[in-house]
C-alpha cells in the first residue's frame, strides 16, 4: 500500500493508501465524519487534495479501493475497463485529468472527446478528480457531456429538460394518484417517466398502479413511460405475469454488500435487464432500466469498508454505483441527494455540493443522470437551497428532476421539486420538454411555439377524464 505525504504550511500530513487519501480529500460532509474517515482539519483536507492531484490515474487500476476478491462491483469496474478509451489520459495524474477535462469541455468536439474517454475512466478516477474541482468545474464539464437515452421519449438532448411526474399517495388511492397525474400533465410534467413509489410491497398493488398509468397513457396517446418503484424481483414477477411493465426500477449502491442490503446483486439486475428488454415496449429507444442512488447508502448498510478494512468516503462509493448502472443501459438514473438525512449530508451546502458531484461523475461515466433535488425536515436546508441546486443542475445539463404537487411528497414525507419548479428552470434557462412529449403537448394546445406550458382550464381539457366523473 502506498503511503502519501504532503507538506502544507509547517505540517507534513501522511495518508495511508488511496482509500485514506480519497476520504481526506473529500469536501466536508457529515457522513464521512460519521464513518470516521473525514479530514480532521481544513489544512489536512487541502494537503490531501494536493497529494491526490499528483496521483497517476494508473494507480486506480493497480490499487482497488474495495478489494477485487471480495466485491463484485470492483470486479465489474476493473474487468470492463476499456484500455483503448483510457489511452488519451493514461499518462495523466488526477490533477492533470482536471485540466484535460476543462480543456476538452471547451473544444469544438467536446461531446465526442468526453464520450470517447468515458469507458476508460473508472468511478474512482471520476470521484478523485471531482474532489479537486470547484462547483463551476463540475457544472462546466457535465454540461459538455452529452448522454441521450430513449424509450417513448428521448432524454438528455441539448436544450431539453425532463421531469419525473411523481404522484405518490399514502394509501395508493387510485383517485388521489390520478388527480396528481392530471395536475402534473397540465403543467407539462412527466416526460422522463410517470413514476410512483408504492405505499406497500404488494405485487398486486404494483400491478394495479402500472395498469392505472398505462390506461391513462393509452387513452390520451401520451408519449411517456410508466414505472412503479418496487423491488426488482417483484417487477420481474409482474413481467412474467403479463403486466404491462415499461421501466424496471431498482435502488443500487457502490459495494456488493450495500447492494445485498437492497436485496440485489449483478445477476439479479442482469435478469431484470433481460426481462425488461424482452418486452420491447419502447417506440423511440430500448433503454428500459431506472436506477436510484444516493451518497451514504453503503454506510447506512454497514457495507462501506474498503481495502485494509478502512471506511471508504461516501462520494467515491456513490460513483461506484454508476458502474453498476451503466452496465444495464438505463433510461434514467438519479441520485436522491437530500433524502438520506443530516447524518450524511448535513445542510444545504453539503446537499448542493453532493448533487453537483453525483451529476458530474455519472455524466462523465456515460449515464443519463437526473437528480431528486430534495431535503428532509431535520436537515439544515430549505426551498432556497433547492432553488440553488435546481438552477445549477439546469445549467449543468441535468437530464431530469422530480415533479411533485407543491414539492411535498405526502407518501415519503420529504420535499423535492414541484411542477412550478420545472416551469421555472425551463423558463430561466430556455429549456424545453423532451421532443416527443412537447409535440403531444402542442397537439393539445398546452404549449406555445417556444415550448412553454400555457395555463390551461382543466375543465376544458380532454385530460379532465383523469378526474373521474364530475
Amino acid at each position: 500500500m502506498t503511503t502519501y505525504r504532503q507538506r502544507c504550511g509547517t505540517t507534513t500530513y501522511t495518508f495511508d493508501g488511496l482509500v485514506d487519501l480519497l476520504a481526506k480529500a473529500s469536501p466536508e460532509r457529515s457522513g464521512d465524519q460519521l464513518a470516521g474517515c473525514a479530514a480532521e482539519s481544513d489544512a489536512e483536507r487541502a494537503a490531501a487534495q494536493w497529494a491526490l492531484a499528483d496521483v497517476p490515474l494508473t494507480a486506480f487500476l493497480a490499487d482497488a479501493v474495495v478489494p477485487y476478491e471480495t466485491d463484485e462491483v470492483t470486479r465489474l469496474i476493473l474487468d470492463s475497463h476499456d484500455a483503448a478509451a483510457f489511452a488519451p489520459v493514461a499518462q495523466l495524474t488526477v490533477g492533470g485529468l482536471r485540466d484535460w477535462l476543462l480543456e476538452a469541455a471547451v473544444a469544438p468536439d467536446a461531446a465526442e472527446q468526453l464520450r470517447a474517454v468515458s469507458r476508460g475512466l473508472t468511478p474512482e478516477m471520476a470521484a478523485a478528480v471531482s474532489k479537486l474541482m470547484r462547483n463551476q468545474d463540475l457544472i462546466l464539464v457535465a454540461r459538455a457531456v452529452q448522454v441521450t437515452s430513449a424509450f417513448r421519449t428521448t432524454i438528455g438532448l441539448p436544450g431539453r429538460f425532463s421531469t419525473r411526474l411523481q404522484p405518490n399517495h399514502p394509501t395508493d388511492d387510485p383517485r388521489g394518484i390520478s388527480a396528481s397525474i392530471l395536475d402534473g400533465l397540465l403543467f407539462g410534467c412527466g416526460d422522463a417517466v410517470i413514476g410512483i413509489n408504492p405505499a406497500t410491497d404488494s405485487p398486486q398493488a404494483a400491478a394495479d398502479l402500472i395498469h392505472l398509468i398505462d390506461d391513462v397513457r393509452l387513452r390520451h396517446d401520451i408519449p411517456a413511460q410508466s414505472c412503479v418503484l418496487t423491488h426488482v424481483t417483484t417487477t420481474i414477477g409482474l413481467i412474467e405475469a403479463g403486466v404491462p411493465v415499461d421501466l424496471v426500477f431498482q435502488s443500487i449502491a457502490g459495494t456488493e454488500g450495500a447492494n445485498r442490503s437492497f436485496g440485489v446483486d449483478l445477476s439479479v439486475l442482469r435478469e431484470a435487464y433481460d426481462a425488461a428488454r424482452s418486452l420491447d415496449r419502447g417506440t423511440v429507444g430500448t433503454n428500459a432500466m431506472y436506477f436510484e442512488t444516493g451518497q451514504g447508502s453503503a454506510l447506512s448498510a454497514g457495507a462501506h469498508l474498503g481495502t485494509g478494512g478502512r471506511p471508504v468516503d461516501q462520494q467515491t462509493l456513490e460513483a461506484r454505483a454508476y458502474a453498476v448502472a451503466r452496465e444495464f443501459e438505463p433510461l434514467l438514473v438519479n441520485t436522491v441527494v437530500g433524502f438520506i438525512g443530516p447524518e450524511y449530508l448535513y445542510d444545504g451546502k453539503q446537499i448542493i455540493r453532493a448533487g453537483l458531484e453525483d451529476h458530474f461523475c455519472a455524466k462523465l461515466l456515460g449515464l443519463p443522470m437526473g437528480c431528486d433535488v430534495c431535503y428532509t425536515n431535520h436537515a439544515e436546508a430549505d426551498q432556497d437551497d433547492m432553488d440553488t441546486l435546481l438552477t445549477l443542475l439546469g445549467a449543468a445539463g441535468c437530464s431530469f428532476v422530480m415533479a411533485i404537487p407543491g414539492a411535498d411528497d405526502v407518501m415519503l414525507g420529504y420535499q423535492s421539486t414541484s411542477f412550478h419548479d420545472a416551469l421555472y428552470v425551463r423558463r430561466v434557462l430556455g429549456l424545453r420538454p423532451a421532443p416527443e412529449f412537447e409535440a403531444w403537448l402542442a397537439r393539445h394546445g398546452m404549449v406555445d411555439a417556444a415550448g412553454r406550458v400555457r395555463p390551461v382550464d382543466p375543465a376544458a381539457s380532454p385530460l379532465r377524464a383523469l378526474a373521474g366523473p364530475q
Binding site: 395536475d183 447506512s300 438525512g341 425536515n377 405526502v410 382543466p458
Partner: protein, 263 residues
Amino acid sequence: MSGDVAAQGADFWEPLRRTTQARIGLGRSGDSLPTRHLLEFRAAHAAARDAVHEPLDVAALQAQLDEPAHVVSSRASSRSEYLRRPDLGREPADLFSLPAPPPGSAAGPDLAIVLADGLSARALSDHGAAAYAALRAAMPGLTFAPPVIALQARVALGDHIGAALGARAVLVLIGERPGLSVADSIGVYLTHAPRPGRTDADRNCVSNVHPPHGMSYDAAARIVASLVAGARELGRSGVDLKDTSRDSALDSAPGGDGGELGQ
C-alpha cells in the same frame, strides 16, 4: 383571463382534494407558485423544523405521568450533535439515575417503557403520556418498571435502559421525523430481551400514532399488547414476529416511519 382560469380551477380541484393530501391545483402566478401557497408551505416547514429543534419540556411531561419518571440522556450533548451522530444517540451518557434491577433474573419487571424525544419532542409532549397510559391499561397482567424519559434519544438507547432495569422487554415511545403535514407523530418500538447490540431486525414497530388524524392510542396499545404477548411466547421480537391483531399498517420490518433507519 388568468383570473378566470384560476376561479374555474378552484371549483374543479375542490372535489379532487378529498382524494389526496397532495398539494394539487395550486394555480399559477406566471410560471410560479401563488403567494398564498408559498406562505402555506413555509408555515408547514417552519412547524416541522420547530418540532425537530424544540427541546422537550421534561417537567411538563413528568407532571402528565401518573408516577415518578426517571430521566436519562444519550451521549449526544446537543441537537446538532444528535442529528449528525446517530451513534451517540443510541448510547447513554450514564444510567446512574435508574434503580438497580432486583437480584435474580426472574425478579425483573415484564416491561420497561421509555419515552424518548427522538426527532420530535413535540410529538412526545402531545401524545407521550396518553399513549403511556393506554399501553399500561392494555396489559393489566404484566409488571412494569418505572417510566424513563430519554433525551436526545434514538430507539436503541432503550436497549441499554431495558437491560439496566432488568426488564424482559422494552417499549420505546419516540417522536418520529416530522413531515410537512404531520409534525407530532410517535412510533412505538418493541424489543424483547433488550441488551446493547440489538439491531433493527430484533424490533417491531407501530408508527403514525397521532390521534385524531393518525392511529389512536387504544388501537396502538392493542397492537403493541398483541406483539408483546407474541414475543413472550416466541421468545424474541423482530422479523420473525408477526402481528396477528390486524391486517395492515404494521411495520413488522425494522425502521418504521420515524426516520429511524439504521438505529
